[in-house]
Symmetry: C2
Subunit: 297 residues, 2 copies
């Protein structure tokens, strides 16, 4: 489950609730494309903006729409108490795995984060992926802490932040971490822009924003890399440079992918929870232009 | 209401809920000391870790226990929708004002933050204090944005992050902001360590963690500054240097003040929500030693 392409769909919503039919259709599309897993309620799925009931409902819809593709549910929350409740909901609904980021308001210590994972793992009967995303959680994992947490028996993967664009540096990063974790714990790359580099450097999976909306495009890169054809993987990624430029210039992937989904009519507008907004005006026009140019659909 | 000492009490809790009696006693103590306002459910009050029902209950308890002292309620949340609900709850309960931080998971843009405040302000019949705390929200206000938001008629104060220890630099900071905001919007200093400096530099109020547990100690500093005796204010602050050293060395004020409250028996242990912990072992011993040395009670 924690290898290959893990596709992270948006959770389209309005101010009163989730756009359920649209969400189900996004998941069905991923299942039809036969991605390796579907990462529901990740950062792209706006988990941090939904309440427990909404998250339970989204989980249920995802599992109903995912066919035989494993569903991984994001269970992050500020409080250990709430994560335990979300873990219970996810497991009851039939999730194949869970994804946990150390979401913070007050800066967390290494020991607090370790205890948090330890407590949550004790309540789990499904495997867990450690979600390392300092850009949103504002917690920086040390390699040593990753090593400690990865010894917990439920931990089976680590979703790591973007590696260097430099392949040697990326390899060193992956090797350094690999040396500290058990053999059966996979490493997955985040950051679509460096996904091909990450897979070439030895990552087992790609936790993908792009793949949540354009599964075929992301699968082509992933399958090339899995077949050992890293040159093709990199070439396919390089072809998407105009899209990666949007991520870089417009402050990350979420608003870009959400705007793209609106433009393509996959989701209604608005699809993000206020205060977040998709792009309007010239930025929206540029996203539209890039989608057409790259024939993304 | 947004001048003088605004004291921010802890919200003591266990994993199942709020320690209601202990919280009420903390508030009663602040009312008895006649602080200028009580800032409930600020960062020190762990607002980000409580659900809507718990926050409504804490608000109610605070207002019941505060006597004639105005109560300001923290209404920050990730989502505009949730802030609107919290604002409604606070107003219905009889809050005198609200405090709003731009809590974020995805990094927010200036325009998103402005619209967030604008939308919330439209729903308010009580004044609002803008809560600028980049250490927890990870949003950096520009002076220009402060100026724009402060024009909203409901905005009556800005709770600013710690100023420089250098008085001239602090004065420049306060003057620069003051030039951009309406005359009836007050500036309040956060960061207990530089509170005397901030008040001397022209801040109208001190949004105080120390004051939430040791109101008399914080009032002595505030009243000196309000009387124009900045030398005494600074001397009283300097006497607390061993306590400020704990903030500096142990990663901020929350765990220090929560540990102090536990040591003094004002709250039961644990009083913070997991994954947060108060100090044990040598750190706890040092907090105890400093409290004794400074005769804090």
């Amino acid at each position: 489950m924690f290898t290959g392409l893990s596709a992270f769909p948006l959770t389209p919503m309005h101010e009163q609730g989730v756009r359920e039919n649209e969400f189900s259709r996004l998941v069905e599309r991923l299942a039809k494309a036969q991605v390796n897993s579907i990462g529901v309620l990740g950062s792209t799925g706006s988990y941090a903006y939904l309440n427990r009931e909404e998250r339970a409902r989204v989980t249920q819809l995802a599992i109903e729409s995912a066919g035989d593709v494993p569903v991984i549910i994001g269970i992050g929350a500020m409080r250990t108490r709430d994560v335990l409740a979300l873990a219970e909901d996810a497991q009851k609904a039939g999730a194949s795995g869970v994804l946990l980021a150390p979401v913070s308001y007050q800066t967390l210590t290494d020991d607090e984060v370790f205890s948090h994972y330890e407590t949550v793992c004790r309540s789990l009967s499904v495997p867990l992926c450690v979600y390392d995303n300092p850009g949103t959680t504002h917690f920086e994992f040390s390699d040593e802490l990753h090593g400690r947490i990865a010894q917990l028996p439920q931990v089976r993967s680590i979703k790591i932040p973007p590696v260097s664009m430099n392949l040697n540096a990326a390899r060193e990063r992956v090797d350094r971490l690999r040396a500290l974790i058990p053999e059966d714990v996979t490493l997955g790359i985040s950051g679509d822009v460096v996904a091909a580099t990450g897979l070439t450097a030895g990552c087992d999976s790609w936790y993908s924003v792009l793949g949540g909306l354009f599964p075929e495009t992301a699968l082509a890169i992933t399958r090339s890399a899995q077949a050992g054809d890293f040159k093709t993987a990199q070439r396919l990624s390089d072809q998407l440079e105009p899209f990666w430029a949007l991520y870089r210039e417009y402050g990350g992937s979420l608003r870009v992918i959400a705007t793209a989904a609106e433009i393509l009519g996959k989701v209604s507008m608005p699809c993000l929870p206020l205060p977040l907004n998709t792009f309007q005006g010239s930025r929206r026009a540029r996203v539209e232009q890039v989608i057409e140019e790259l024939e993304l659909r």
